[in-house]
């Protein structure tokens, strides 16, 4: 009982301390751009409850759909590429170059090619988030254990079953690593895609506050983004623990950290 209590206490100790320090340090602030934390917290409710359905929910929806698209595309392309070394060698320089293009720099390109609607925003998210998934899937598929692959061949396991039972399962730790990196990228791109040529969304709202000099509201939006990112990473941790339960158990048995 006390062990878990201590763990919780440890988890909230430093954040709580920092929050309190920020509150106290900023309380008498007269700086226009760094208002007292008190005002920011007070602005939270009135700012976001009317905007929840019109700005925040669509943003989260686009994030989820874009992220899902990136995962599907990354795994869908990564599996065949992982299994064909020559194709991989041919595409490697092109993929390296494409990966190095900063997604925010591609936003103007996407605006030209796909207009300014939801499709463009989803494509921006996918274009950046696909890379960690793709590259990690390729690595994971490449590293499938030879013994297991031979065993499958002996037992005549091919096609979709082989994909599901051998390839995907063996590559899943790597794929999940890629998915985790892709999540933080997806959040960043969701915000960026809404800062250009948008009229709704969390990113748009924050920029609009900044342009209208509504500073406490702007900061509340920044904090909300942080909370969103944090909630997503916790949610992902839960997902990872369930999906990779077998893998973590295996490593524990083997004594790996």
């Amino acid at each position: 009982m006390t062990a878990s209590l201590r763990r919780v206490a440890l988890a909230v100790a430093l954040p709580g301390l920092l929050f309190a320090l920020w509150w106290i340090a900023s309380d008498d602030s007269v700086s226009f751009y760094l208002p007292p934390l008190r005002r920011i917290v007070a602005a939270f409710g009135p700012t976001w409850s009317p905007r929840w359905a019109s700005h925040v929910a669509p943003s989260i929806a686009r994030l989820v759909i874009g992220y899902a698209g990136a995962v599907v595309l990354g795994v869908g392309l990564g599996v065949p590429l992982g299994g064909r070394p020559r194709l991989r060698a041919a595409l490697e320089p092109v993929l390296e170059l494409a990966r190095a293009l900063p997604p925010p720099a591609l936003v103007p390109v996407f605006m030209l090619l796909f207009g300014i609607g939801t499709a463009m925003k989803l494509l921006v998210i996918v274009s950046g988030a696909v890379w960690p998934v793709l590259l990690n899937t390729i690595e994971g598929v490449r590293a499938v254990d030879d013994v297991l692959a031979d065993t499958c061949r002996c037992y005549g396991i091919t096609g979709a079953t082989r994909l599901r039972v051998l390839v995907l399962r063996a590559a899943s730790p790597q794929i999940v690593t890629g998915m985790r990196q892709a999540l933080s990228i997806a959040i960043i791109l969701m915000v960026i895609s809404e800062m250009f040529a948008s009229s709704s969304g969390l990113g748009y709202a924050i920029i609009d506050f900044q342009r209208g000099f509504s500073i406490p509201e702007m900061w509340s939006g920044v904090i909300l983004l942080g909370v969103l990112g944090f909630a997503m990473s916790i949610g992902f941790r839960v997902f990872e623990a369930r999906v990779l339960r077998w893998y973590h158990a295996q490593r524990r048995v083997r004594g790996e950290p």
Binding site: L14, L18, L21, Y33, G115, I116, F196, A197
Partner: protein
Amino acid sequence: MRRQILLWTCAVAALLASCSKPKSEGAGSEAKAPPKGAAEPAAGGPTKLTVAAIAIVDVAPLYLGNQKGFFAEQNLDLKIQNTQGGAESVPGVVSGQFQFAFANMISLLLGHAKGLPLKVVAAGNFSTGKAEDFGGIIIPAGSAVKAMKDLEGKTLAVNQINNIGGVTVRAAMRKAGGDPDKIKFIEIPFPQMPGALGEKRVDAAWVVEPFLTVARGQGATVLDWNFADTAPTLMIAAYFTTRDYAQGNPDVVKRFTAAINKSLSYAAEHPDEARAILLTYTKIEKPTADKLNLPLWTPEINRASVGVLADLMVQDKLVTAKPDVDALLQ
């Protein structure tokens, strides 16, 4: 035991220091900003000033006056800095990065309403108040929209919804008897509006020169001159500084205002030279520069029109209470 405590304190301090680095830098940069009186000359030399302005048609008098030496006449050494908009130049003036800047009235009223100590020193530019204004609502060729009321339920592109574009479009809609809330506004940067209109990605757009001329060259027609519908001789933008700077450097402000006013009158009387100077600081091409509608330039600040804008801001819920126009223009 002591070493543990020491280590803990060091770690917390380091974490705090690194976390607060950007914030303290920010507060420091505001405090350390060149003191408001730093623009005064050392000994009889011209006063060095930095003016922030967006590289658009509206500020042609500034460039023209500088070229003609009106600022040098007033013993001012002007450096014109390109900015992207009021959202950037207002904080820049407040922090002392720029001594003066050009911004539209809505941005200034918003900042003023939120408590920023801004002070208008000279007029910027005006709507011509009649047809062939320097900004208007355009529709693509072959559009089904025939009157302002038809815009209900349609998409309309503006560069910023909660700024002068959105406010004046809504005012024009109300004047035509339509419901502005039924317009679907979309924010697109000006340069992309002609393309978006041509591709029928939006049903209408509010543009200013030179994009108005560009779009009309591609077949778009003007549906309405919304600046004229909002108020007669609407003052669109102004040159401003902070109240502290104005109080600390009244002479500099007087000289700057005199130079700007002379530039405004000169540009109004010599439109060809204004068109010519556009080619030097913007990427506008000569054929477009020759055809576009110039804004109205005059040194007389139109207080009444600023009052109209302030009322509209309350009506459009940009602010909760009407901003004190006199305090800003005083």
